[in-house]
Symmetry: C2
Subunit: 162 residues, 2 copies
Amino acid sequence: MAVLLGPLADRDAWSAIGECPIEKTMAVAGTKSAMLIMREAYYGTTRFDDFARRVGITKAATSARLSELVSAGMLQKRPYQEPGQRVRDEYVLTDAGRDFMPVVWAMFEWGRNHLPNNTRLRLTHLDCGADASVEIRCEKGHSVPPDELGVRVVRRSRPEGQ
Amino acid sequence: MAVLLGPLADRDAWSAIGECPIEKTMAVAGTKSAMLIMREAYYGTTRFDDFARRVGITKAATSARLSELVSAGMLQKRPYQEPGQRVRDEYVLTDAGRDFMPVVWAMFEWGRNHLPNNTRLRLTHLDCGADASVEIRCEKGHSVPPDELGVRVVRRSRPEGQ
DNA sequence: CAGTATCCATAAAGATACTG
DNA sequence: CAGTATCTTTATGGATACTG
């Protein structure tokens, strides 16, 4: 891949541009259980015990991971109350959590294409019935192949209209 | 997200469909250092010491991760020889490794959008100059929003399957 | 430059028991 | 159902020294 950024000579070079976002994302949600909890959230799971059972991890791990994902802004606690029960919290996706979907489903797609025994699963666009996948695209609508992708550093970062 | 697969009642349900590809992908390349080594590979790095220095990990970790990524089929050893030096191996991307790019760049995009201090970085389509991003699309060309994505299980072609 | 070997610290996660 | 509290094992990775 040709890059505008270029391979950085060493890790210190990243500090000049605010650290590597990949590394920071991995620090926040880069564990196996965190990814699977996000998978469950996309499947519609919201309750503590459901996360623990469906992901297949202990309650201790579930507790730790849910707290971290809430801190990271990917999940949000929402109070609910079953009749005759005390008020509890469930864990629902935030916009930032939904924005994380390409990460999880890109792993899904890579695994089913490159690891054994997953040929039966497909991502699907429910509205039209066609199979879906995760791809890299530019704003002009081109599909971007590996050798045409680059990273650039913009001069100054500020939100539009400021 | 509405799903055809639906939230699986427990983790054992995955075994009926060959285990979860997300989980298997995380098992194979789901560490922070593995992701950063793949980042470096996309930037064009191929040499052992360059991986270690640019990722910022020890040689021991570099050695372990490179071996795992070769076993996973994402990198490939290729012999080379500098004049006057012995033959060594460098680590180059395979097709499967290039197919992993959406995972890494989706993390890049999520991090720069949702974590502080990364607003200066942009993915770019080098051929046309437009900014790029990672998105979920169906074969008919629709961009697939979170609530329109599903997972389906295709029927076994093999009669022995069930 | 490209590793291997050793020892040590921390993080992730399982097992189990307990609480309201 | 929704957690917390221990205790233990394994995974990850740093520090350092050594090799061809």
